[in-house]
Amino acid sequence: MNKTYDIQRIIKGCKEQDALFQKQMVVKFSNLLFAVCIRYVGTREHAQDVVQEAFIRIFKAIKNFDPEKGRFESWIRKITVNECLKHLDKRKIKTLELTDYAEGHERTNNQAISKLNKDDLLEVVAQLPDGYRQVFNLSVIEGYNHKEIGEMLGIKEVSSRSNLSRAKVILRDKLLSLQKQESWVKTI
């Protein structure tokens, strides 16, 4: 049975490029980072490749990690998000620039969201069109503002806002659609 180590020991081992601790890190964080990758790239196949790249990048950069500047999980999450964006850019998937979409069109159905479990919600988010999905993840889940998102994706700030609005509309409607299906199933 493999011995498990605390995170500080794993970080120290990874800084020394010790394969044992690198593997421990993969074991400890693979599920979390895999979920992040699915949210960004949409499919498990692509996410698997990206999460591998992310770990390689983490192993290379870990010597620069300073615990005083932030949590380790936030740091590896940021690296993973960057790898996801790089991957999407490599696939030539660009964020659509929508500037003429009127805001204030959103409506939420809190009941529909509340009923979903995490995996279903992840699936719904992963099904968002590529460009919208990036903005949605960066804004709603990672908490970046539109200016930062614009810089990260190379789009205008207003486009980021529009894409987010559109993403939310699509997400809401997908959720409603799911809810209706569920009600129908219950009726039967």
Binding site: L32, N110, I113
Partner: protein, 473 residues
């Protein structure tokens, strides 16, 4: 509030959400990628070092001005020697009245009197030569001092002496040597073994017809100096069995996709329609051993990279429902309008233009057998080779049989097997120990690079023009 609730709720649910993935599989994939990158880095570094070494060697040979050591006493002008007999050339002596030095390394082994049959022309002095020998450490120094005590030495017609006193073969060898023409030295003759040069000098001494000073000069002390004379190298046949060959160049990639199964032909057409061969290149370094009969063997390491472009358009439909949309407007007789709201199903079609660059990378151990024929500075060679693959990797994406792009290296073998090659070559010797080569080469992989379960066979061959430089040890 509703929107904020949704944002917060989604964040709460997904921020730390985890999706199970097999960590062992992930770890093995990471290790494989790291290994591939390490190989690439190692080979790149090796190639860079070899290139640097080659360029450094070449540059040092051409531009070695400051570090050059005169191979003859400095006042005697400079000269260039190869380490083979019959190939001694020297720069013209600029000042025949300069002092002559024998360096401490040059051990004087004998001084003896020689009586030559001289004629009047030998004693006819055009101008006097003051020839001194100094800086020596030989036990025979005193004798030399005695010799150099002669203050006025007649000028010799060295060509006459050569004609009269040396064997015809010797005369032929060195008659073109400028030293013999313009100095009071008759010749530099290699009479001994490969590790030293026996030098004979003839000095006219009063009371004697001629004195012959014989000393040897260890070859190790002889250094090339090209600073003053560019064309003083010897390019004759030399015995250098070992050499290092560094090469690289572009290739045309000939790809062959095939299948024997009828139902896989649609997929085959799809693959052929979406993939374009871009280019490929080969680079490597090989050690070569050549026998005197012209046959040689080569072995080393080689990297072969094939690049292709995958281009296709993916249409993806995304369906969603917009609620509370105006779906009908009723205008009554009074002109009033009533909007009827309802759900609208919208189908959004996303068109993705995919351009993906795929890389197939091979690391091979090439084993070559060939034959070389040289004439003057030109060489012609032909060889056959077996390339044993030690590492193969695929980086990129392919279409699946269902038409989706997927990055899955497991479609490919981890070892591409062997390849055979046929290579010709033209070489030109730019330096005594360096030869440039231009070699057209055909290489064919002996088996497909896909796994057997894959619906089609993917085979490659390349036709390239490689350029390289060979350094003889």
């Amino acid at each position: 509030m509703g929107e904020n609730y949704m944002n917060q709720h989604v964040k709460d649910m997904l921020y730390d959400h985890q999706v199970a993935i097999d960590p062992e599989m992930l770890w093995s994939g990471i290790q494989q990628k790291q290994k591939q990158r390490a190989w690439t880095l190692w080979l790149g570094t090796l190639f860079g070092l070899l290139l640097l070494l080659g360029v450094g060697y070449y540059s040092a040979s051409i531009f070695n001005v400051q570090n050059s050591i005169p191979i003859l006493p400095e006042n005697y002008g400079t000269a260039a020697f190869s380490d083979h007999k019959d190939e001694v050339y020297s720069k013209d002596q600029d000042d025949v009245n300069a002092e002559m030095k024998i360096t401490p390394e040059e051990q004087i082994i004998s001084i003896e009197n020689k009586v030559f049959k001289t004629n009047e022309s030998l004693k006819t002095a055009d101008k006097p030569i003051k020839s001194k020998i100094k800086s020596h450490t030989s036990p025979l120094a005193e004798d030399l001092t005695a010799l150099q005590s002669q203050k006025e030495l007649p000028t010799l017609n060295t060509k006459s002496i050569l004609n009269n006193t040396r064997a015809k073969t010797v005369e032929n060898k060195f008659i073109d040597s400028p030293i013999g023409e313009e100095s009071n030295k008759l010749s530099y003759t290699d009479k001994l073994s490969i590790d030293q040069l026996l030098i004979e000098e003839f000095l006219p001494i009063d009371g004697l017809d001629m004195a012959m000073l014989v000393y040897n000069r260890p070859y190790k002390k002889l250094k090339r100096n090209r600073s003053n004379r560019q064309n003083c190298y010897a390019f004759g046949k030399q015995r250098h069995p070992w050499s290092l060959y560094v090469y690289g160049g572009p290739s045309f990639l000939l790809k062959n996709l095939s299948t024997k199964v009828e139902q896989d032909k649609t997929y085959l057409s799809q693959r052929e329609a979406t993939e374009n061969v871009l280019e490929s290149w080969r680079a490597g370094a090989q050690f070569k051993y050549k026998w005197e009969n012209g046959f040689y063997v080569k072995a080393g390491i080689e990297m072969n990279r094939l690049n292709e472009q995958l281009t296709f358009t993916n249409m993806r439909d995304s369906m969603y429902v917009l609620t509370d949309q105006v779906i009908r407007i009723i205008i009554d007789s009074a002109g009033d309008t009533t909007e009827v709201l309802g759900d609208v199903t919208v189908t959004e079609t996303t068109t993705e233009d995919w351009v993906i660059y795929n890389k197939y990378q091979f690391v091979n151990i090439p084993l070559h057998v060939g034959y070389i024929k040289s004439k003057n500075r030109w060489s012609f060679a032909g060889e056959v080779g077996l390339h044993i693959n030690v590492s193969f990797s695929f980086d990129g994406q392919l279409l699946t049989p269902t038409g989706q792009p997927i990055q899955d290296p497991s479609y490919f073998k981890t070892n591409a097997g062997s390849a055979i090659s046929l290579t010709g070559g033209v070489g030109y010797q730019v330096l005594p120990r360096a030869r440039l080569w231009l070699t057209p080469s055909y290489m064919k992989l002996l088996r497909p690079i896909n796994i057997d379960a894959y619906p089609i066979d993917q085979e490659y061959s390349t036709m390239g023009l490689l350029a390289g430089i060979e350094f003889k040890f």
